[in-house]
């Protein structure tokens, strides 16, 4: 069904040669309206909901900046949190200065974050972009660990374990906004997120952005048309640092604290997961991934302590079977949407759903019981799955879970083959339709 690797992961929708500005601007307008309306949607109109949206906004900017490196320029970084965090520290220090009397509105602090991210992106990028590929990945890992360790060694700048705090309300008011409420913070974040996303989108369409894609595809050929691939990567790196720093600034405003976790390997790993799972080949992919992963992190973690395991397994499944990410998966269906075979594909999904659900349920039961017994013994061994109560200390639920897992898996293998067959038929039909249409 798919090829895998950076190739399929970044199979970008080709940019149309002729400008179609009308369609483009409309999409951004819709996005702006949606962002304005979201915090008032029932379900999200609480402080928790708005906080969630704020976190998603920050993550989206961070993930988009990461994709400037990964999807756009082919650079796999394991230390991108460095620029997020250092930008965050820059912003929080700016906030402290404002708290102590600097007459600048808090709303401009993300720019301090962007400046911090850009500064370090330039400085460290000069060293780290001389090579690409695996070596670059290793350098990013090393620099990440270096910076993380350094934050504990310079408590004056980084505040050690406790981090640096500041207040977002103790500042000159901007148009009557004091950013005390989560709603106002959300709108600030949404505003900057939209601006940043637009900037990154436009960057991809400049000659520099086009050459980033070229360097990703074939750095050697790029050199033979007059471009130094190292320079191109350096520019992408600095730009990615800038926007990561901006996200860090938003983080500083949202939490009013920046600590070492902002530059940690966990955060670097998280942004990689988000971007890849959403889909590195489409502009919207990282945004989707950020939203989904943030939601999983805040909501799912409340229900189960195994949420990271689930995320890891889903990530591996995507790497193996759907490297173009969630967005890529959805768009794939666009290719067969108009064929007759599409209905058969949907039908095969319905059939495949049953054993898949059984298998997943079995796995979930086993995993949750395992976690309960090993990490939350103090809660006892009685557990509730929906309306079913089981005792994890007895053999019955274990056997039941194992049977569901095994049975579901066995049946899935058969149903999945039907799905693949239906897909093949539909996609052949789709190809024939397109070939016929262009004649």
């Amino acid at each position: 069904m798919s090829e895998g690797g950076l190739a399929a992961a970044t199979a970008a929708t080709p940019a149309r040669a002729g400008p179609s500005p009308a369609r483009g601007w409309r999409a951004w307008l819709v996005a702006a309206v949606a962002l304005a309306v979201l915090p008032h949607v029932p379900g999200l109109d609480s402080d928790f909901g708005r906080s969630l949206l704020s976190q998603m906004g920050i993550a989206a900017v961070f993930a988009l900046s990461y994709n400037m490196l990964f999807g756009q320029t082919g650079l796999l970084s394991f230390g991108h949190a460095v620029y997020f965090g250092l930008g965050g520290y820059a912003a929080i220090h700016a906030m402290r200065a404002i708290n102590h009397g600097l007459a600048v509105p808090i709303a401009l602090c993300p720019l301090a974050g962007a400046a911090g991210g850009l500064l370090f992106g330039l400085a460290l990028g000069a060293l780290t972009t001389r090579r690409a590929g695996t070596i670059f990945a290793l350098i990013s890992l090393g620099v990440g660990e270096l910076v993380y360790a350094a934050t504990f060694m310079l408590p004056g700048v980084f505040g050690g374990e406790e981090g640096i705090t500041a207040s977002r309300t103790k500042a000159p008011a901007l148009l009557g906004l004091d950013f005390g409420s989560q709603l106002q913070v959300y709108y600030l974040i949404a505003f900057w997120a939209l601006v940043a996303a637009l900037a990154m989108y436009l960057f991809a369409r400049t000659p520099a952005g086009r050459m980033c894609n070229a360097v990703r595809d074939n750095p050697e050929r790029a050199e033979f048309v007059g471009y130094d691939p190292r320079r191109v990567r350096f520019i992408a790196f600095a730009a990615a640092g800038l926007f990561a720093g901006l996200a860090g600034g938003l983080h500083a405003i949202n939490y009013e604290i920046v600590a070492a976790d902002a530059v940690s390997a966990q955060r670097s790993g998280a942004v990689l997961l988000m971007t890849y799972m959403g889909g590195a080949g489409h502009f919207v992919g990282p945004v989707v991934g950020a939203a989904v992963l943030t939601w999983l992190q805040t909501s799912l973690s409340g229900y189960t302590s195994a949420w990271l395991l689930y995320v890891g397994v889903i990530f591996i499944i995507i790497v193996l079977y759907a490297p173009s990410g969630l967005v890529g998966l959805v768009l794939m269906h666009g290719e067969i949407a108009h064929t007759r075979g599409f209905r058969r594909v949907l039908a095969s999904y319905a059939v495949a759903l049953v054993p898949a659900v059984v298998m997943t349920a079995g796995a979930v039961v086993l995993i949750e019981m395992g976690y309960r017994l090993s990490t939350q013994r103090e809660l006892g061994t009685l557990m509730k799955f929906g309306r079913v109560v089981v005792d994890a200390a007895t053999a019955t639920p274990w056997v039941a879970g194992a049977l569901m897992l095994a049975g579901g898996y066995a049946a899935s293998r058969w149903t999945w083959r039907r799905v693949a067959a239906a897909w093949e038929q539909a996609s052949d039909e789709g190809k024939a339709m397109r070939a016929g249409a262009t004649r």
């Binding site: 190739a7 060293l127 695996t134 290793l138 890992l141 090393g142 660990e145 270096l146 310079l154 990490t375």
Partner: protein, 316 residues
């Protein structure tokens, strides 16, 4: 002074050999397949946990045999059902797969053994003093660890230079596609190499498990250092991995013992840095505090100055 230096040297050598034990398997995998195996440290951790569990049922000495074998099987399974599938898609997919695997293994370990460290204590059979230096005892298990580490080096050296498999692996260092084109059962060799590397990691875990804390974050704690060593030593160089391990082991151990900072050194020379100046904070970091950073500083320096590492045969 001599006492401190001697003890630090001994500890440094011990630490260095421990690091080499960890790294040897990865050197094999990375060199042959070019795969940045993020799951390597996870298999190391698995070895520690398995030996802990097996040790409680059958005792330490059977565990030291069974655990590495089990890890080798795990490695073979990872290669067969995971890596092989993404091998054709390039290094990025392979790296990402092992990256995700590291998360999953850490969580599985938590699921089975919990979040806290398990009581993986030194087995009684090797917990006696081998000799005494300046009043500090040198325990037998450290000696065992050193012996195993050296044995690993010898084993790998012999495999790589004296066997046909080793020849293929060495050829694959510099000409991976050619080896493929020559019709060697590359997938089979890959599986074998990955299994071997994983078994070595598992063996390292058996010993390392009771020298370090056996907890789910173990993999994350040692993982980055292992990559630093592989790059410092040079891709594809077993000898380089040994040298780099020893270098980092000794440097870090000595650094941890030094309770002076740059500011102290300057003061001794008559130069005083004003308290409150921006340089003061950086200059007053004690070397002991900065010790964790040393490997990464070396990494960054090496990558700038000589990306193929100390003894590397090719850039990645």
């Amino acid at each position: 002074m001599l006492e401190l230096a001697t003890i630090s040297l001994i500890n440094g050598v011990v630490y260095g050999l421990l690091l080499f034990m960890l790294t040897s398997g990865l050197t094999l995998i990375f060199s042959m397949m070019g795969v940045l195996n993020f799951a390597h440290a996870s298999v190391f951790m698995l070895g520690a946990y398995l030996s802990f569990q097996l040790g409680r049922y059958v005792g330490f000495w059977p565990a030291i045999v069974i655990a590495p074998l089990a890890c080798g099987l795990v490695g073979a399974a990872i290669e067969r059902y995971g890596l092989r599938r993404v091998h054709s898609s390039g290094h990025v997919a392979e790296i990402l797969f092992t990256f995700g695997l590291a998360y999953v293994i850490e969580e599985l370990v938590t699921m089975i053994w919990g979040r806290n460290a398990v009581a993986n204590d030194v087995p009684a059979t090797i917990d006696f003093a081998l000799f005494t230096v300046f009043g500090t005892t040198f325990p037998a298990y450290k000696g065992l660890m050193m012996a195993i580490s050296v044995a690993m080096f010898v084993f790998l050296f012999l495999v790589l230079t004296r066997t046909r498999i080793g020849l293929i692996i060495r050829a694959a260092l510099t000409h991976p596609r050619m080896v493929d084109a020559l019709g060697h059962d590359v997938p089979g060799v890959f599986a074998l190499v990955f299994a071997m590397g994983s078994a070595l990691a598992g063996l390292a875990g058996v010993i390392g498990g009771f020298m370090l804390l056996t907890q789910p974050t173990l993999a994350h704690a040692v993982g980055p250092i292992v990559f630093v060593i592989v790059v410092l030593g040079g891709l594809g160089s077993l000898y380089g991995a040994l040298v780099a391990s020893m270098l980092i082991g000794i440097l870090q151990t000595f650094a941890v013992a030094v309770d002076y900072s740059l500011a102290d050194a300057l003061r001794a020379m008559g130069v005083a840095i004003v308290r409150g100046s921006p340089l003061y904070e950086v200059a007053s970091i004690k070397l002991a505090t900065a010790a964790p950073v040393i490997p990464y500083l070396l990494l960054v320096l090496m990558l700038i100055v000589r990306p193929r590492g100390l003894f590397g045969t090719r850039d990645a």
